[in-house]
Point group: C3
Chain length 172, copies 3
């Protein structure tokens, strides 16, 4: 018998399962966002989750938390903020696509991920289309809570952004 | 000795292997389509596979099966229909990209998957380019047959579609 | 006790771990490229790695190795060449996205992968934007060296390419 081998296999299987679960919770958040299922959106985050993903917005339109710009804290606030961004005044059609990630399991209950991403947003401004088209990376942290993996932090960095001049007018 | 652990590891490894195989059969179908390898295309599907993925077409150009619009049944018909769509009158260049999926193993031999997707199609209409550019989700079902996973159902839902007015003229 | 089962599980877990590691080394290369971390770029390749990925360039601008066009050999040369391509005369913004791959483990230390891909490049030519937008497949080979997977070969085939007429002027 080879206990050593069995143990290693268990560790490997556990790690790979964690990676697959983390990728799936990531995919779920994106789908809830693009399908506008706001009541599901908060639940993929830990209670103390926070994000720094609104840095593209003009300074005066960025969400704030405790005086920090571009910061949203807590699952309910995260859901409320993205819903506001996607539906305030007029609905935005959004498509977020994420590509091959680098997931690192840093302990039995913590992990990080870097995801190349691209996002398209469109809305109708009277008789013309407003659009936003961006490219960048999501940098996320994950935590295992009650046997499942949740997102506890998210930052967005950009490689390039193109948008129409009136894209943010909707938020006035 | 820890039979419990060993058993769990076997279950986890089996499930993760199934997920990887399902992702690969998905990738293979897309590649056969974009590389126009029609003789390979049918074989990634079960004998009773069917699809509902032609809902973007004008109603009078959608394939039908037993009086149902937007329906194609069986591997041979699936291959014949996509080939017709891609090559009738003049060849279409296509690029289909699928992103982070949510795969669920629902039994030892069945599974489901949701895939964010984007597709580009181009063809030359005299002296101008016709294009189609769409975004949405594939919703698929899989079944294990003779030790390998195959696609048995596929539906396509859309978030957004843009195309030139003459894009479907080729199918007249 | 079921030695058979345990052995199979170990093989499956090993194979799945290899696949995840290969996907991660792929992702890392792409990130180093788009983030212009040239000192990291070479290290994801084996000492004898070579590429055939410059076939889009005009013939007189393709890199050569031993009289072969569209060929770059060795980690240092690979890093030097991509850096030249991305920064010569003026910096290029690049976004490379890779989609669902087909990874095949061909032995304990060798593997292959096919990756659908899309790349965007932009640079500023005086007062106008030059761009390149391509679609295709990476075909890679991998080898396990000192316990880690590295890239030893890369070819790029194209489905479609669009670019501005002056896109390659930067390399004059």
């Amino acid at each position: 018998m080879n206990f050593q081998l069995t143990n290693n296999v268990a560790v490997v299987a556990d790690m790979l399962l964690a990676i697959e679960q983390i990728k799936t919770v990531f995919a779920r958040r994106i789908r809830y966002m693009d399908m506008k299922q706001w009541d599901m959106y908060g639940g993929v985050h830990t209670d103390d989750a926070w994000s720094e993903t609104y840095g593209d917005l003009p300074l005066d339109k960025q969400p704030q938390s405790n005086g920090q710009r571009n910061r949203v804290v807590g699952p309910q606030a995260l859901a409320r903020q993205i819903r506001y961004f996607m539906e305030h005044n007029t609905p935005v059609t959004s498509v977020h696509h994420a590509h091959r990630p680098e997931i690192e399991i840093t302990s039995a209950t913590t992990a990080t991920g870097i995801w190349p991403m691209e996002d398209h947003l469109w809305w109708r401004n009277g008789d013309r289309d407003e659009f936003f088209h961006g490219y960048g990376h999501y940098h996320e942290h994950y935590r295992k809570v009650d046997g499942g993996w949740l997102i506890c932090y998210r930052k967005l960095t950009r490689l390039r952004v193109d948008h129409t001049p009136g894209f943010y007018d909707r938020l006035d």
